[in-house]
Symmetry: C2
Subunit: 354 residues, 2 copies
């Protein structure tokens, strides 16, 4: 096992002492980078890229080189799990993901298997071990998966959605069907994340991109309890270190206390809440990850730096802060702005540590 | 002046005694109704419909007949204000609104006039007085406008947006330009709403559809202070009665206390917060409007009724609740579900009053 040269991210996730605040960024390996677009073109499309461990590793490492990020995150897509459950998945050019044959009834759910990650998702496991080899201990590698609710929205709607009419109708009218789907997804995701950890992931994040479209009671019933079910099944120690678990619900700032109570180590924040307010509400139970408005990266570098300083000052002294955006970086951000953002966090955070 | 036969809505807005909880619904005159689609087809498109006072009145009254709604809301579009400021506005078939020549710089903002609602928006004023004539005192008429920030997003982006990159870049990089735009919009909207009140609107609602994409500090700086500037300019008494002002920020549930402090009478809630939690946070300063998940209307009528009962029970006894959805009804809802929703509120709310 290669020793980690930079473990700031893992230490911050566990609220241990750090010399400065670590920073990474959701979608840091992505379309805003010309290097990423070139690799994707070579792969012949997005899904081909996801299926090539060597090319996954290439794009995963690009932001480590370009931004000097303190963590790498596996390059993949949350929808490879439903695909491994037997659902055909397509990404048309310039289109979002599509499931041409969506889930419509109990019989559709009953026939879904729990995939064996070492078989149906072996290409992801291979990507994880390839990335670890190529990282060579520079920074830790984060694995990830979509939340059961978020995956269910795509599987029932047949793709992205504006009003989520089908998945909501199923949740409201056929709750037993929805719960069976969510149970199967929770167990599939737990096995998948444990596979990633066994293959070398040193932390994992669950992305609940669409939890925020629910009411409080529906969030508890259809999203949060299934993320908790995953957390309870996860391998928490690997290679002699604790494997931090990060839960991120976009639009979930009303439910931070409940998210922190799932047993996760880190709560991911979107940008709709001030981080000092989040910290005061949650207390010292977990670390916080976030939470700069991703569109702040459209601003000039000096404005970005002012925002970084503001967020750092709000978090203040003390451990348990992983700097990130409140959601993924958007494709039309100039890469130089992202570089300046990372630099600002590295430089401005020193005063709050040591 | 015709006496109001049903003034439950106005009384609830002012936290006065009512016999049952009044109910209306955002976008209640809209595409889910075949009657609306027929009138729009006769008008020859959406903007033609907005410009015809007689046809506006026709569609405004449809949900009063069909749903027995306790309030009518002017049929119009928030973007008629920027259009009256000289910006060309188009609605392609099946497309969202477009401003082909968006605001890009200070010079663009400087040349924008504050429109005289009695001149450039006379067709809206005529619609208001026509609707009042046709309502003949059945229920009160609500006027409305978009918030300055929400209008600015369309004017700078040139239409709807996914990432709001242009309007955020202007706010972050050219704050003086953005503030001049928002000042002009606030004063235009205030004059426009006062025109609606003078023409017969008995309450007004400001729709801040895109306030929720901002951080707390940016919401205060770019959205809330300009809604407050409008509230401070509004005519608050007309025809011998107080004219309630409703503020609704979608995604603004983190800022309810600040919204309630603007001087408005009613805070509109989206569905991401339980109404009992909102009531506990705000106290008895204002009435609350909301807040059923609009997608609950995809559920079967018995499930809709259970949700109505839950929300009524959470609000509990006491005055100051206007039942509504947390956002507009979506076009593919079966009208019968909306009818059952209104019926459920009328029947189930009696136990909490008198």
């Amino acid at each position: 096992m290669t020793e980690l040269k930079n473990d700031l991210f893992l230490r911050a996730c566990l609220r241990e002492d750090v010399e400065r605040t670590p920073v990474w960024m959701m979608r840091q390996a992505g379309r805003y980078l010309a290097e990423y677009r070139a690799t994707r073109a070579r792969a012949g499309g997005f899904l081909n890229l996801c299926r090539s461990p060597e090319l996954c590793s290439e794009v995963t490492l690009q932001p480590i080189d370009i931004l000097d990020a303190d963590a790498a995150i596996l390059f993949s897509d949350i929808l490879v799990v439903p695909e491994a459950m037997g659902m055909e998945l397509t990404f048309g050019v310039g289109e979002g993901p599509k499931f041409p044959d969506p889930i419509t009834c109990l019989a559709d759910v009953e026939k879904l298997p729990i995939p064996d990650p070492m078989v149906e998702l072996k290409y992801v496991m291979d990507a994880v071990s390839t990335i670890r080899r190529d990282l060579n201990g520079r920074v830790p590698l984060i694995g990830f998966a979509g939340s059961p609710w978020t995956l269910a929205t795509y599987m029932v709607e047949g793709g992205g959605s504006k009003n989520f009419s089908k998945v909501k109708a199923m949740a409201f009218n056929e709750p037993a069907t929805m719960h069976l789907l969510l149970e199967k997804l929770a167990d599939s995701v737990a096995a998948y994340l444990n596979g990633q950890i066994a293959s070398g992931a040193q932390a994992v994040q669950i992305f609940d991109t669409w939890g925020g479209i629910l009411t409080t009671r529906d969030y508890n019933e259809f999203s949060l309890q299934y993320m908790k079910r995953i957390v309870e099944q996860l391998t928490r120690t690997s290679e002699g270190r604790r494997v931090p678990v990060i839960l991120y619900t976009k639009g979930g700032m009303g439910w931070l206390e409940a998210i922190a109570d799932t047993g996760c180590d880190v709560v991911g924040l979107d940008w709709s809440i001030d981080i000092d307010v989040a910290k005061a509400r949650i207390g010292h139970k977990v670390a916080l990850q976030g939470n700069m408005d991703p569109t702040m990266l459209y601003a000039k570098p000096e404005r970005i730096r002012a925002e970084v300083k503001d967020i750092l000052a709000r978090f203040g002294h003390g451990n348990g802060h992983v700097f990130n955006l409140g959601h993924g970086i958007t494709p039309d951000v100039p890469p130089q702005h992202a570089i300046e953002f990372f630099k600002a966090v590295r430089e401005e955070s020193v005063r709050y540590h040591g």
